[in-house]
Amino acid sequence: MNAKIESKPAPVKNRTTVERTSDREVTVTRTVNGPARIVFEAFTKAELLKRWWVPKSLGMKLLSCEVDARVGGKYRLVFDASPEPAAFFGTYVEVKPYSRLAWTNDEGGAGGPVTTVTFEEQGGKTLVVLRERHPSKEALDAAGTGAVEAMVETFDQLDELLVALGESSGQ
């Protein structure tokens, strides 16, 4: 039961694919137009990460973003979720410049999912493969349901966000 979703082919835009690669793992792949060195930098420097990490449709603002991308280093992202700010945090467990990154996701307590990202440069472009491995099938299923609920909750903020984004992009 490996449902695979792909975005519709567009002439310019790179495609993002998401695949449930096992009972407890989801894999995201995307080619990014740029060398691995720069893409890696965008993943590991707070001032760059905070510019792209929050999905627009989520309707949340990033209040703070701290990243210490060294093995054993921590990261902490705080969103202005309602009713109170939500923090996402964890520890980097693998940091191999320009090729591999892995971090824990500890906001739900110990035993959260581990995210592994590999960067593979091909002709000036970088194939990014991101794996989110959950401790059990049940944990991944629950994460899925939670994401759906979160989407419904934040949906009514979407209009507001679009207006704000329209204003900021017009600057």
């Binding site: 039961m1 449902a3 979703i5 975005s7 835009k13 790179n14 993002t16 694919t17 998401v18 695949e19 449930r20 989801v26 995201v28 995307r30 990014v32 137009n33 740029g34 060398p35 720069i38 893409v39 930098e41 965008a42 760059l48 510019r51 792209w52 990490w53 929050v54 999905p55 627009k56 449709s57 989520l58 990014v128 991101l130 899925g144 349901t145 994401a147 759906v148 989407m151």
Partner: protein
């Protein structure tokens, strides 16, 4: 598409409007069962249970397969649809993220190039 969705929704609501059928779904959530098992459990005739299962099957909530002389029921393709819907939302999130990432990468590339030009001067 709208028609399809609406008729599926109608079928689902109709299927779920009956207490026995809700019980059958609950039961199948725990384990697959034959129509005979279900008929016994809900103190019903085989024909009566067949009707209920037929309604659930039409709504896509249950699938059945016949192995030998026994017809086994299990929860239906709806589950797969839910998973697909979740994956699609998840994909959209990542797609949005990566689109923004591309902008950042593009900017850094341009900056590097202009820095190179400055250094050469």
């Amino acid at each position: 598409m709208v028609q399809y969705t609406t008729s599926r929704l109608d079928a689902s609501f109709a299927a779920l409007s009956d207490a026995t059928r809700r019980g059958v779904l609950e039961q199948l959530g725990r384990a697959d069962a034959s129509i005979t098992d279900l008929a016994d459990k809900f103190h019903m005739t085989l024909t009566g249970m067949k009707k209920h299962v037929g309604v659930l099957e039409q709504a896509g909530l249950v699938t059945t397969k016949k192995i030998g002389r026994v017809r086994t029921c299990q929860l239906g393709p709806r589950r797969l649809e839910e998973e697909t819907a979740w994956l699609e939302r998840y994909r959209r999130h990542w797609d949005e993220r990566f689109d923004e990432l591309e902008k950042v990468v593009e900017e850094l590339k341009r900056k590097e190039k202009s820095d190179e030009r400055k250094n050469r001067k």
